[in-house]
Every structure is written in structure tokens, then in C-alpha cells.
Subunit: 217 residues, 2 copies
């Protein structure tokens, strides 16, 4: 399928590379194409010639699946730039976390408890089918989960649209995920976004981001 | 050792029973002894004759370890009633979660993000050595983790005092826990308390509280 990825950071590049490797038609969107080309994207793009770079305004056109891999505070502006009409009816895999680094490390959350970034995006784009997923593990494990314990660990999907969750679950399974847990509607994104505080502490304690939780049951 | 448990609910009874089973001298504290005896405690106590019931004011006297198994909003009042002098120098295993049921189910958290109930208790009782632990799983699995996957899942300790964490870790190990992760100082309790939102959703989704997370690394 045609996959549009918003964001050119570690997460965006990891998803784009993996999706291209699996044979999808991948386009990555950025705020300013010239600035992105002049940065670390240039080197990465040379090794990934199948991935196209474009501005946010065009990225979602013709996409079957849109991936939000921007930072938490950059998500709504990026999606606004992509255009509500372009996003209408589409499945949006939202990977962003609303991290606030204003008080240093570890960051706090800027949205939580009785709301989530996933819900904010769903409210702002009611015609788009938002699925929160993959925001609970490091980019390398999002895309190549088999590197850790042969993939024997868990990821989650949250969203209001069952068909959209099916599309995302199939993509995750194609990445190698073996335990995709459907938590329920988009309000369950509160739970996965609020996993970040313990994730950040475990990262500090274990000295590596190559870990994940498994829901043992 | 002598273990004082504050709280006569499911968690308090589970901890008291398990500690007594392991040969500890166990006393349970409650706000009003007569009222507690008249409730479901009576039947439970008949099956656990080795466990003594007393008021909060006396429960911590002579204890080696104090366990806070009260509700989140009942924790500071119960500890106040137990007395700062009686708690001074002691290890306090804090299992409570600051759940707010004011908006129905699932509850939100009343303390979070840049604070936690564990930290509030540590600030209120600076002479007590607070260790947050066991607040991330159901009572049955706190005390008998081997029931699930032979105990192959994780629990966490957070606290400022290394010796106190060692005492709690040894207790948890004696219960059957095989993976006790020391997250760091008491501020890391934010992470484990903020696990509750996903725990509650998983409970709803799986239809049983007999699950836990394993940190795969």
C-alpha cells in the first residue's frame, strides 16, 4: 500500500525504511524539504533511494495509511499542514508521545490522565481514523521486534474504528510483532502514553532502549 | 520479623496472610477495630488466627517493616494516625495507588506527572524509609506470583534508601518474585503509579486481574 510518514526523525526514518523494505510505496513528509535535505536526512536518503521526500501539504494525497512520527508538540501543526481534507477517511497510525522537556530529563507529559494526544488528534480530525500504537517502545523494536527475545513481547492498539485497527495490526504483524493487544477505543491511548514515565526510568536503569514489556497472562 | 500492615482490604489481608504463612509476626491496623471486626474481617480472621488486629495508633510500635495497604486517599490519614514517631527509622512498603473514582470507571489519578503518592508520603514522613512496590499487580499475584507463568514477570522498587529497598526486595523474593527491578529513587514511583491506567484497561480487556508485565530485555 501507499504509506505516508510525517516526520523525518529516528521514528519516521525507521518506519519508512521498514515499510519500503516490505514493498510498500513510501513517501515521507517534512515541514521544509530543503532544510531536511540539508540535514542528516541526506545521508539516510542515499541509502534508501525508494523513499520519496515531500512537504506536509502533499504527503497524504493518495496514501492508504498515514503515520504520525512527529514529536508530541509538533503533531497537530504537522497534521494541520497535511490538511484535514487530505486526511479524511484515512487510517492514521499515531506514534507520538506528548513529552514535555521544559523541566529537563526525565520529561513530564503535557497531556494525560483524562485526555491523551491520541484523543486530541482524533477530536481535531474527526473524519480521520486514528489508531494509537508503537509509542511504547524504541524505534528499532517498533520495526524489527524479532531482535528482542524473538519478538516475544507486547504492543498495543487503541482506536475507535475496528477496521483501522485491523489495518494497523496487520502492518505491525508484518513488522514481526507477535502480540498486538487491542485495548479498546482511543481513550485507552491514555494508558499507553502514560507508560512513558516508567519506560524512561527503565531506559536509564537498564542503560539501553532495547527492552519492551510483555503482558504475561 | 514483625510486620505491621495498615489496611484491612484485599491487599492488606493478602499481605498479612502471606507474611504470617512465611512465619513473620503480623499485626494489622485499622481505623476502628470494632467496626472492622463486625465486617468481612471477622470471617477472614477466623481462618488466620495468627494475625492480630489493632488500631492505627498502636500498629507500628515494635514493627520492623510497615506496609501501607490503605486506599490512596486514605494513606496519609492512616499514617498520621499511626504516628510519625512510631514510623521514624522504619521501612515503609507503600502499595497504595492514588486512584480517583470521582468521575467513575476507569478512575483517574489524583497525583501524577511531576509527583506521586510515594513521594508525598516520603515528604510527610521524612524520618521513614519509604519504598514503593507491588502497586502494579493484583493482590493474589503480589503474594503468590508463581501462580502466573511460574513467576516469570516483573515487579519494581522505588525509594531513596538502599537498605530499605533491600529489605523489601528480600520480602518480595520470599513471596516468590523472580524479577525485582530497582528503578531508582522515590521519584520513580511516578512511573509505577502511572502504570495503573493501562493496567485498568488491560483488566477490562482480558477480563481477569491475573496478569502482569514482564520487562523483556
Amino acid at each position: 500500500m501507499r504509506i505516508a510518514v510525517l516526520g523525518t526523525g529516528m521514528v519516521g526514518r525507521a518506519i519508512a525504511a521498514r515499510a519500503a523494505e516490505l514493498g510498500h510505496d513510501v513517501v515521507v513528509g517534512t515541514r521544509d524539504v530543503a532544510t531536511t535535505r540539508g540535514g542528516e536526512w541526506g545521508e539516510w536518503a542515499a541509502a534508501h533511494p525508494g523513499v520519496t521526500l515531500t512537504g506536509y501539504a502533499d504527503v497524504a494525497t493518495g496514501a492508504d495509511l498515514v503515520v504520525n512520527a512527529t514529536s508530541g508538540d509538533g503533531s497537530l501543526p504537522a497534521l494541520d499542514a497535511a490538511g484535514a481534507d487530505n486526511l479524511a477517511g484515512k487510517v492514521l497510525l499515531d506514534i507520538a508521545n506528548p513529552l514535555d522537556f521544559g523541566k529537563g530529563f526525565p520529561p513530564t507529559l503535557s497531556v494525560l490522565n483524562d485526555d491523551s494526544l491520541g484523543e486530541r488528534i482524533q477530536r481535531a480530525f474527526p473524519r480521520t481514523r486514528v489508531v494509537k500504537a508503537l509509542n511504547t517502545l524504541t524505534a528499532d523494536l517498533m520495526t524489527h521486534p524479532g531482535q528482542l527475545a524473538g519478538g516475544d513481547h507486547s504492543v498495543f492498539v487503541s482506536g475507535d474504528d475496528a477496521d483501522a485497527k485491523k489495518v494497523v495490526t496487520e502492518l505491525l504483524t508484518s513488522f514481526g510483532h507477535t502480540d498486538v493487544i487491542d485495548l479498546g477505543d482511543i481513550t485507552t491511548a491514555r494508558g499507553t502514553e502514560m507508560l512513558l514515565p516508567i519506560w524512561l526510568r527503565l531506559y536509564g536503569r537498564l542503560g539501553t532502549p532495547m527492552f519492551n514489556v510483555k503482558v504475561v497472562r
